[in-house]
Subunit: 319 residues, 2 copies
């Protein structure tokens, strides 16, 4: 149905390449930081992924060749960067200047330069969607879009699986933060440098994106506008005390059209916010239909790629 170019070949990018055919799309270009594979007639995706696994590079073309390929939709899946959100932002700009659609898995452009992205989109026949940037496989932005962002009063949720895994294990085992973090690092759930997750930055970026959507252009948010506290100072004793009271602690992010806040919050054990392990949840408050709770896997290659490909399917045909 669409010709896709995938820029960025980490777990998400590779899963998009892997699953695109199953969704009826042709992959015409794949780029990593080293090189690119391009075929306007559609790449043999299995061969591209095998080469990436064997050589660490997807192909012999220059990475920039992927941006020039004859795609309908550019999937931007390079790592999230802060500040100028480069090189992701330039990739978005290039695609929109060619009147092509963009689907983002990279949070940077819509968290740090939302106004710039929307301005370029307004001047383009292409559109930008970014379901995968908030809550992985959970259909958060699609739901907000369908129900109308101007009729959503707030969104809050548990949006970082690593932090939630740590809090869940601390509560279940009565262990301290440092102990559980080391365990999570051994299991590969936490990165060697876990600060992006445990300091709340990742959850805050997702809430900034939600606030940008809910503000409908009335106001622009970046990470600097968020009030953020992580979980590194949550003592095990706080979880014990909460448990005695039928509650637990979760790293909760909240976004409205006016504010972004992320921090540890006491939530009842029976609250939808009390998700366990690496699962994420988002509560969308609507003007006329009360709250809608959406939960699922917030990270992972195939999970996030599923959201990317849902976006690809939502885009209107280009003329």
């Amino acid at each position: 149905m669409s010709r896709i170019a995938v820029v960025g070949c980490g777990a998400v990018g590779r899963s998009v390449v892997d699953l695109a055919g199953d969704h009826g799309h042709d992959v015409v270009a794949v780029a990593d930081s080293q090189g690119a594979a391009v075929d306007p007639a559609g790449l043999e995706t299995r061969a591209v992924l095998e080469r990436k696994a064997a050589d660490g590079a997807v192909g012999d073309a220059a990475p920039a060749d992927a941006l020039a390929a004859p795609y309908d939709v550019l999937v931007e899946a390079t790592p999230t960067t802060l500040g100028d959100a480069e090189p992701g932002f330039s990739h978005v700009a290039r695609a929109l200047s060619r009147d092509r659609h963009v689907v983002l898995a990279n949070k940077g452009p819509v968290a740090e330069r939302y106004g710039d992205v929307r301005e370029l989109e307004a001047a383009s026949r292409g559109s930008v969607l970014f379901e995968a940037t908030v809550g992985g496989a959970i259909p958060v932005l699609g739901t907000i879009d369908d129900y109308g962002p101007e009729r959503i009063t707030a969104a809050r949720g548990v949006l970082n699986g690593t932090a939630n895994f740590v809090l869940t294990r601390m509560a279940a085992e009565g262990l301290d933060y440092e102990h559980v973090l080391a365990e999570a690092q051994d299991m590969g759930v936490a990165e060697a440098d876990p600060s992006f997750d445990v300091e709340g930055t990742d959850a805050a970026l997702k809430c900034v994106i939600l606030a940008n959507v809910l503000a409908c252009g009335e106001r622009e948010f970046t990470l600097d506008d968020a009030t953020v506290e992580g979980i590194t100072r949550v003592p095990g004793s706080a979880l014990d005390l909460a448990a005695e009271d039928g509650r637990t602690v979760r790293l909760v992010g909240e976004a409205t059209a006016d504010e972004v806040r992320v921090g540890p919050r006491l939530v009842p054990d029976t609250s939808p916010l009390a998700v366990s392990g690496t699962r994420n949840v988002v509560q969308v408050e609507t003007a006329h239909a009360d709250g809608i709770d959406l939960s699922g896997r917030g990270a992972g290659g195939p999970e996030t790629a599923t959201a990317v490909l849902a976006d690809v399917g939502r885009l209107p045909p280009l003329d």
Copy 2:
């Protein structure tokens, strides 16, 4: 954005009329069983609703005049009927024959005559959407559509608020079915004739619709294909026993491309299926992104109208 005709003026139809303007749409016709109000330039919806409240009739035109009005989208919100699904089915057929879109709040046409509806849709430039027929405000069908029904392996959930209210009260108060049902009838949560809800028929119709979607045309389901057991024979003692074991009983419906089953099931207290009161929940099992849980209000005028208007927004422009 769209010109809407609303046929059926119960709680859902009236809420659609009430909220359409807020979504940017014009209501050009409204019909109840007695009459209709039609204005190709857009009705004064407040006046129509006030007249309906005062007189019991929306206007002096014939009901059939609404079906002939110059609308883009017909919202079919007459009561669900079984078997031939009339008069809803004929309303759908008429709109599609005029190359217009249809949004259903009425379950009948897609539960009992899904193949006929899809056949008429294939011959029309109009499309048929029916988010409001399953789980009220919960974005179940939109999510399945975005992720691709062929990549959804199953959907299960608690889809009848009345039955769930009765089970929740039975468990919380230790009361018998008959006692709680009488209370629910006093509160207006249960109908004078509650059989449609407590016998599982309503939940089964929703699961039949889900199965029709998941089957992607490979097979057609009607209520006759569903294995259905209600909650009328669940003894209070069963809920007590379940509670001792950290579990409860819920009326759970399950749909796959091959089967529809509805009946009381034991579920853990911590399961997403253990929703309380009139809330509904649906678990969507995906091929590549694990399970996604969606919960919210499954009934109510504004809630269901929100789903109807989300569908209206998803429809492509008519040429």
